[in-house]
Amino acid sequence: MTTLTGAAPAAVIPGRIGPATALRHTMTLAWRSLVQIKHNPMELLDLSVQPIMFLLLFTYVFGGAISGSTSEYLQFSLPGLVVQNMLFATLTTAIGLSTDITKGVFDRLRSLPIARSAPLAGRIVADTLKQVWAFALFVGLGAVLGFRIHTGVAGVVGALALLLGFALAMSWLSVLIGLTASEPEKVQIIAFSVMMPLTFTSNAFVPTKTLPEWLQRWVEVNPVTHLADAVRGLLSGGPVASHATISLIWAVAIALVFAPLSLRAFRSRG
């Protein structure tokens, strides 16, 4: 019989963890979140269904009514859909975290001699890669449907970087929801009731001037509007700097508010 235990551990137990080791822990846990896709490709489909469905529905159902032609509307709405999808996708972090907590996986990880940040960081790394996949899917499928990029590679990379930066800031909110929601189903409810109004009260899908005046004032502040405009500029050409700046200010503000709250919730679990 093989010995299950007994062998003495390393004579010297390190008291703390260096950045390189912490990064290795993070990558192992990111692998853990992504390896599921390998033997269950449906996971990838789950990530893709919403973008594909929204893109087709919005283009062919609303396109004619809103812009007079589906191709014109696609050019307007695709950046908005990209932003909306990015915001919804940040909540996969919350759902994953909440699932780990309810299943006890989170406690198992925290009882291991690994970097404290790794269970959070590992998820966020994996979810960031999923964001890249969704973005590529939008741009690729959009191109097939007739979306034209008028800028170039730098514009596309810039748009992706801006979206990922904003997603990273939002992941602090997501972590907070994941740590405090009592069960993963609650996360879905929160997601729906916050993200739907937030993304729809913007110029992601309709031009601001078509909205009632009182709503226009909020729409002009809404970070979704600025993100959508910045992404439009980066993909189809047009003003970028001011919209990107306002988006980043929002991102910083969100991170400043939710990072401390999340970390406090994280520590209070131990």
């Binding site: 010995t3 299950l4 235990t5 007994g6 822990h25 269950n40 006890g104 406690d107 198992r108 001699p113």
Partner: protein, 324 residues
């Protein structure tokens, strides 16, 4: 004697509730301490503090000589934890679950795979190793969870109600595994609601109730604490049960319990036994069965806490065995 686990005056509040109300306990190296108590007695809270998952509000504890709050990282390199709810990633296969932990503990990919293979074969999971854990039965998940806590060859193992919800067969299988670990010299702290489990496995037992340790000792010592033995008499003629009861009540002063066609009573002074036998003989009552035995842990628990330990959750066991 060297202690692998030592806790003094642990206190933990949750709002108004005192989950732990000043708990002291020690586990000598290489021994198994059974922490026995009903649901809500504070067993899991104590384990979570010792496993560095929760900070105590007061008191302190060491594992392997390291403080669980100040040197948590060192404690984590010595311990393994198996919780009440099988903490495996259900979307990963058995192998992947164990490889992930091996990698986190600094093993190479090849070492992690080797270790995973060893543990899976030891726990009779080799055939299921390539399947997602969500297809496992309750007993298989529990074994995988235990395997996961052993990847790092822990010196101290915390088993928090490892057999709750398992069918009897899986439970005895798990007991054998725990005995195997003991043979390897691992120190174990095991919480349980099952008196039989503590009796079977534990070198020492502490009894928790309402966040306090209300008794401690070996199983035999605890059985002796009530200071009583149990006398049972079953008359051949069931109609004579009342006569037996009257005789017992007269001689001992306590009325016996009459369930199951027999009279059962605690006796402290053993000289009453021949007296009862003689009196029954005079009255022409023939005993089909007459026995004198030590109290069971169940009776000890009742005497200590004033309430019975949890009943076996038979329904839950059936439910958990169905693969989800």
């Amino acid at each position: 004697m060297r202690y692998a686990v030592q806790a003094e005056g642990l206190v933990k509040h949750y709002g108004e509730t005192r989950a732990l109300d000043g708990v002291d306990l020690v586990v000598p190296e290489g021994r198994l301490l059974g922490v026995l108590g009903p649901n809500g007695a504070g067993k899991t809270t104590a384990v979570r503090i010792l496993a560095t998952l929760l900070r105590p509000d007061a008191g302190h504890a060491t594992v392997g000589g390291f403080d669980v709050t100040k040197e948590a990282h060192k404690v984590r390199s010595l311990i393994g934890l198996t919780g009440q709810y099988a903490a495996v990633d259900e979307t990963l296969t058995g192998v992947e679950n164990l490889v992930m932990i091996g990698r986190l503990l600094g093993l190479t990919r090849a070492q992690s795979k080797g270790r995973a293979g060893e543990l899976l074969s030891r726990f009779d999971l080799s055939d299921a190793g390539g399947r997602a854990a969500k297809t496992y039965s309750g007993g298989m998940r529990r074994r995988l969870d235990l395997a996961a806590s052993l990847v790092g060859r822990p010196q101290v193992l915390f088993l928090d109600e490892p057999t709750t919800g398992l069918d009897p067969r899986s439970r005895t299988d798990l007991w054998d595994v725990v005995r195997g670990l003991m043979a390897d010299g691992v120190t174990v702290l095991l919480t349980t609601q099952y008196l039989q489990e503590a009796d079977e496995l534990a070198d020492d037992i502490v009894v928790f109730d309402h966040g306090r340790v209300i008794a401690s000792g070996t199983s035999d010592e605890l059985k002796a604490t009530t200071g009583a033995q149990v006398l049972q008499v079953r008359p051949v003629n069931g109609g004579h049960l009342d006569i037996v009861a009257d005789v017992m009540a007269d001689i001992i002063g306590d009325r016996p319990d009459l369930t199951g066609g027999q009279a059962t009573v605690n006796v402290k002074d053993l000289t009453v036994v021949p007296a009862i036998v003689r009196r029954l003989d005079d009255l022409g009552v023939v005993a089909a069965e007459l026995s004198l035995r030590k109290s069971s842990l169940d009776e000890v628990f009742l005497a200590l806490t004033g309430h019975r330990a949890e009943d076996e959750p038979a329904v839950e066991a059936v439910k958990e065995e169905v693969p989800a």
